[in-house]
Subunit: 461 residues, 2 copies
Amino acid sequence: MTRGTDRKHLHLNAFLMSVGHHEAAWRLPESPASGGTDLAHYTRLARIAERGLLDSLFLADSPVLMGDPGRRPGSKLEPTVLLTALAAVTRRIGLIATASTSYNEPYNLARRFASVDHVSGGRAGWNIVTTAGADAARNFGLDDTPLHHDRYLRAAEFVDVATKLWDSWADDAVLGDKDLGVHARAERVRRIDHKGAYFRVDGPLNVERSPQGYPLLVQAGSSEDGRDFAARYAEAVFTAQQTLDDGIAFYQDVKRRAAAAGRDPEGIRILPGIVPVIGDTEAEARALDEELDRLIRPEYAKLQLARTLRVHPDALGLDEELPDDLPTEDEIEGAKSRYTLIVDLARRERLTVRRLIGRLGGGRGHRTFAGTAEQVADTIQHWHEAGAADGFNIMPAVLPSGLELFVDRVVPLLQERDLFRTEYTGTTLREHYGLPRPANRLFEPVDTGDGHLGIALAGAR
Amino acid sequence: MTRGTDRKHLHLNAFLMSVGHHEAAWRLPESPASGGTDLAHYTRLARIAERGLLDSLFLADSPVLMGDPGRRPGSKLEPTVLLTALAAVTRRIGLIATASTSYNEPYNLARRFASVDHVSGGRAGWNIVTTAGADAARNFGLDDTPLHHDRYLRAAEFVDVATKLWDSWADDAVLGDKDLGVHARAERVRRIDHKGAYFRVDGPLNVERSPQGYPLLVQAGSSEDGRDFAARYAEAVFTAQQTLDDGIAFYQDVKRRAAAAGRDPEGIRILPGIVPVIGDTEAEARALDEELDRLIRPEYAKLQLARTLRVHPDALGLDEELPDDLPTEDEIEGAKSRYTLIVDLARRERLTVRRLIGRLGGGRGHRTFAGTAEQVADTIQHWHEAGAADGFNIMPAVLPSGLELFVDRVVPLLQERDLFRTEYTGTTLREHYGLPRPANRLFEPVDTGDGHLGIALAGAR
């Protein structure tokens, strides 16, 4: 694979949601009792994904206990800690963690991701989220979630600060001259002196530049603000797209926005989510899908749906369609794109609340596809060739079996069709995605000639 | 060893400062080039410490680049990330990380430490610091460091919030009843609804209670505020004490304050720091000590000393004693106890600035002891038996060799004298220190009889 030019091969990310994306997955016999905090479980998943040569694994997150603790495993390890633990038991696969720009300080988070990139040998990625929801806000001294647009303004400044901190050491800053007694060249380490609307940060970071320069920047919001943000900053985008037409439109829109922002559209990898439910026959796959839906306790899911739609639970009849008088997306200050996706899905397919819950239970709005391995490979190939995807975010409904089936049955088919790698050719996450290591924006690369305390440099932005 | 009652055995912690506590350690041939970010180096150190059956290892930290990057390795991995990586390569040794109450949010930090405790099987400890210094403040939007007393007020509330979050899941909350479809018992998970002067946090945490309940709480400040804080919250105290008399006085003072705060004084382990410089003969040890001091570049150290003393660098003559007109401790808003320790040391021994720099270069104010393994074991035994220490914070001047010498030569002597364990008898950090697992203050332990959705309970504080 050569960087940035290989359109033929697709990229695969394993989105690991504790015991599976389906909310009832934990009720199956294979599910470990404390899946969200069980390191042995995650170790097994990471090794399966690496055996399948996947580009990366990914951990979602929000700093809040989501929903009723009775419904599904709500206890989850903090993702940068879990990633670090998984770095120790894998060698090549990329490791992407979600962290919030609304509820962290740039200095701390930049340092943590730089540290994960160091300990993993250049395999770290950061899924940048702004974190919707009043419940999360109330864990951080706020009464309600900041306004959607404000969250994105803060996120943009946060990423700007973080990248400057990651660039605050030149790649050649550490000299380690034991004879001279100079450890790092002071003129190759600099303050960033950031003063903005949301942050003032002097810097420099107290970690030298990491193997990748900085973690791969990932984004997953699909609202207007989210797309603009992705176009400016993201190197990989995870997205929920229910139909091929929607997928193509989204793909083209984000690439167009990236070009408008002055970036090479090839520098962004777009990965729609797919929840593959795999059986030996289509009927067997459907039966598993239906069994999972039967295991949902609808009273939990109805409460959550009512919260998402900003209606009273009594306004939702399990065997009726959604009420007509829902808020518009403009009135939603939370996760706008998810809200619209759910309402559109229900209206388009005229789903009852009970059936909508079943559809959402499998992957929170992502496309569930039940079929044989051949059929899953076909739909992946079809979307890829139709221009809806540079790769896929694989979201197994049940873990570990759903990931195992994908790796053992679907990946070989994709390899046979020459759509997926047969060995890792790179060592860093960006190399897997065919993306370049970012240049340092605060320092020109220099050759000091004598290798010492050299000539200065610090080209400020 | 039985819990809390074993006065005979001492406790040993390895304080791992990148390539060694001596500022010139990195100039020795054994030192790796990027010691602060080199996971292989830290892995080696952790394994040596575990081979020596030490209670724990410890990582200091401040969210700022300390001093001139030329002087010594200033680039360091974030401690909770590094601890997690070290948990993966060790099995028994405790793992203590420093984190600041001034520059973190309680929800995030409580979650990270709970996660480290989960992935390490109950080996996490938190060294609670308030972080002095304007340089650090300016990485977090402040113009200067918050006032000393305010920092401790915030720290106390921070620890209160964190312990409530750690207690927000009863130990028996996760039921995992697959038949019934109830994952955790909602009535055994509760919000904390904290509203204080510094924080408002609803909770609950999104991680279930960890193997130790929560990380071992460690503290290291020795100012008045620091001692009161330790007396209220700390289970282990690291301290810098230059003389045996000072050590005994400190030990008695902290235990007395703990009793006055209504705690069992046996519930706090006090560990003075010692920088052992070990040779086959006393002369060899002294020669190594002097070689290290010769490798110091005094221009770096003088600048730092001037900053600590709040004087202009020109006021310090390398071959003169400290000036008479220094600020009093009351005028210092930074690390008060360190300031006083340095000034007292210089005045007591009438040290020139050059000689003071040499003494501080080895361990930033901790007691350097150069001698044979026998002599090191003798001084440890003497302080222990004289009532100045429950154990020691071992701060090798040079790593890895200083730790290797301690483990291979001093530990066996302490074992021969029946002063130190000959095998790990516990699996958690608290078990190593002979301390009890903390009770959950938000839930009474209950036996629900039928093992299900039981009876309720939540005794609020």
